[in-house]
Point group: C2
Chain length 451, copies 2
């Protein structure tokens, strides 16, 4: 199907280029990106595994795509917009004169993929991915230029039951990390359609809507008096209803004028159903999440840690996104959740419990002349299903045992002349401090029973 | 530790840019890269899982790094070399005037990481990673510009026992994919150091060595007569021994002059030990693998399929690579194995058996008014540990059942008015054609016992 990919055999970078570089290079990674040494990778693996397990528990299927996307996936027509994209993303021109962008978001990609196979896919489509995403911006202290983000989306369902499912999934992810709804986090929901219904009910102009929405997005960072004053300046007579709505702390106290609207009924159903499933959500009319993308339900999961009381992730309904590829729009709802944000959350609440898997057995030859014998012996243990490493360094055996302990290895087998001659071995249990002895087969029997 | 990464909440690409783009965009991915729809992703997951499991079974620890690397990691001093790099990799200048490359190989990265923490690491280091790699070249039909590659390396061991371990690991990977050594693949080994010993024994000039090595690398693509003639032109009187060596089909028939060299003894030990562990390897003096990078053992795994008889993956010992970061060089040995090559191998030998995991239960409301009730019911099954999806589309229920069957779902529960009123449900076993009935709790009990 594919032409063979030559990387595996011949490097595109001739090896002598590397070897002839005698200047000492820095060992630092590129600015704004991270190296994952094994201890960091174990954390990453734990987080990704919980994400995957939870998404699959809801029947979501994994997909992926390249980090390279044609730039026009993100590009509007005007030169001004094009400039914004170039300043905020890694975008460059390839030698075929194609503009390429390192994807900053997964949603345009998943919309492209769904639109591309709309005739072959069985809707509803439930897909998840954990893409690597990139952004370019002037460096600020500690800001990263890349991260990984869980993306979960449902395509092809335009009723509120899909919104409920997405919220249940978001909640279950937190639950599976050991967090409690209401104690560690809260789910805040709103509706862009309901906000539009409110504006309709007070007959607000397009310009005033845009300004009012922008202000609402900043409400929680402002003094109440200041907010009220600015909103009144924007909305005039309509300010009373707009303020009543944006100050509402539950869905029953919104202005009467919008209670007949079906966006209201739907949001009510969503909130009531979530309550019934034991997953309470908070009506929060200040949730906005961008300006023109979301069409209906929007939500955020907020960290309840007193030092870190902010939105960690969020999403919403975007019913028109596939339009740009032609054809009838396919309704979508989904969310994104970044690895850095999750790690901060888990660490600040002391919920990080990585299950670092490590080899069960280490074979430790007493000197390097026993290394070959050690490799042969190790292979017998591996064949019996026991994860086994060999310390073939020239360290003293006591140091080898200490290292094995530091690496959380469960058992150590010291291999010297006597053991090789007698074919009888002793395995130390590094955690309990006990010992097992016997032939290879004896030990395999004992270790696989104890394992 | 990190500043919060804003991606999760606010897109660097303002959503209105996407929405105002009314021109119809292509749904094709960027040239030379792949979209992974769920059926492809299942294959990828299967391959990556076997890779990971096998590496961890040998005590290897996972690491990772960003695809973005400073270009000077790959850059030599001369302008000519710089040009080669620019033409074969994705390299661009960021707005901080840094040259950045999308990594074409993982080995320079892992050498950078090991050198960067040489004081903190406990050697021997056994690390693996499955990085995404990129190369730029003029498009040829079907050639890819990116792939994923398993990389396994051992650092800090300069004796042949590490070479043996790496070969055992390479073999075990193929074994765990259901392939048989000698039937589906063969492992070919050689030694760069032994080749140098041969050149020393016949006192070949540097220039002739370089030319002879290049020719040896192409031996299997040439007519024997043509090869002999060209080698004689290069080596003159020394050609006899060089040809004897390069034509040797086992290590015992190489010229006597090199049999005393310790590179010979080591390679003999390696071949004999592999034979003893039931993992035969083939001495193949034509294995070269690049020019200046490898210092000693080199190997390739060759596909034995008659239509595809070529090297699939390979590696070797590179004892000086960390030198470019300063300090004492840290010996290394490792290999890379690409996903596209592996997939071709598994498919051509009919060894591909992806274990596509799918939800156990699908809840199918008879119409969209039951969608909310269906979500609530599904959540009870999920809470009991049963992977559950809900078909909230407006399809007829017969069509929903058919779709569930196509998606390899095991059980379907049709939810109509009667079921909601009576709180008694029927679950169809879509594979066996049988049915289970009862309350929610009855069904959970039966499904978790049957699961």
């Amino acid at each position: 199907m594919y032409e063979h990919y030559a990387f595996a055999l011949y490097s595109p970078v001739p090896y002598n280029l590397i070897m002839t570089n005698k200047g000492k290079l820095s060992t630092a990674p590129y600015k704004g990106v991270r190296d994952f040494y094994p201890e960091d990778m174990a954390v990453q693996r734990y987080m990704f595994d919980v994400w995957r397990m939870t998404a699959e528990h809801f029947g979501f299927e994994a997909y992926d795509a390249s980090i390279l996307e044609p730039s026009n996936l993100y590009r509007a027509k005007g030169a001004e917009n094009a400039e914004i994209i170039n300043e905020q993303t890694y975008t460059f021109t390839d030698r075929g004169n194609r503009e390429v962008t390192l994807r900053p978001e997964m949603t345009p990609t998943v919309a492209r993929m769904v639109a591309g196979k709309r005739r072959d896919l069985t809707f509803p489509v439930r897909w998840y991915s954990i893409p690597n995403l990139f952004r370019y911006e002037r460096m600020q202290r500690g800001r990263l230029r890349e991260h990984w983000q869980l993306n979960c989306d449902i395509f092809g369902v335009d009723d509120v039951s899909a919104d409920i499912e997405i919220l249940l999934l978001a909640n279950e992810i937190f639950k599976n990390f050991g967090a409690e709804n209401g104690e560690h986090y809260a789910i805040h929901v709103s509706s862009r359609r309901l906000l539009e219904a409110l504006y309709d009910s007070v007959d607000l102009s397009e310009d005033a809507r845009r300004e009012a929405t922008r202000l609402a997005d900043r409400k929680n960072k402002m003094e109440p008096g200041d907010f009220k004053e600015k909103m009144t300046a924007i909305c005039g007579d309509a300010a009373k209803d707009v303020l009543t709505y944006l100050n509402a702390d539950n869905i029953n106290v919104v202005p009467e004028g919008i209670k007949k609207h079906d966006a209201y009924t739907e949001l009510q159903t969503l909130i009531a159903t979530m309550e019934e499933t034991g997953t309470p959500v908070v009506f929060d009319p200040t949730i906005i999440r961008g300006f023109d993308y979301y069409t209906d339900t929007v939500f955020e999961v907020v960290d309840l840690h007193p030092d870190n009381n902010r939105a960690m992730m969020g999403g919403g309904r975007y019913d028109n996104l596939t339009e740009m590829f032609g054809g009838e729009p396919i309704p979508g709802i989904g969310f994104g959740f970044g690895d850095v944000t999750l790690r901060d959350f888990l660490e600040s609440h002391e919920l990080m419990t990585t299950d670092i898997t490590s080899p069960t057995l280490a074979v430790l030859p007493t000197d390097t002349e026993k290394n070959i014998a050690a490799q042969k012996l190790a292979q017998h243990f591996r064949n019996a299903g026991i994860a086994t490493s060999v310390d073939v360094s020239n360290k003293k055996v006591g140091k080898k045992i200490a290292n094995a302990g530091e690496q959380f290895i469960d058992y150590a087998l010291v291999l010297g002349e006597d053991e090789i001659d007698s074919e009888s071995y002793t395995v130390k249990d590094l955690i309990e401090g006990t010992e097992l002895s016997g032939t290879l087969q004896d030990l395999i029997d004992q270790l696989t029973n104890n394992g």
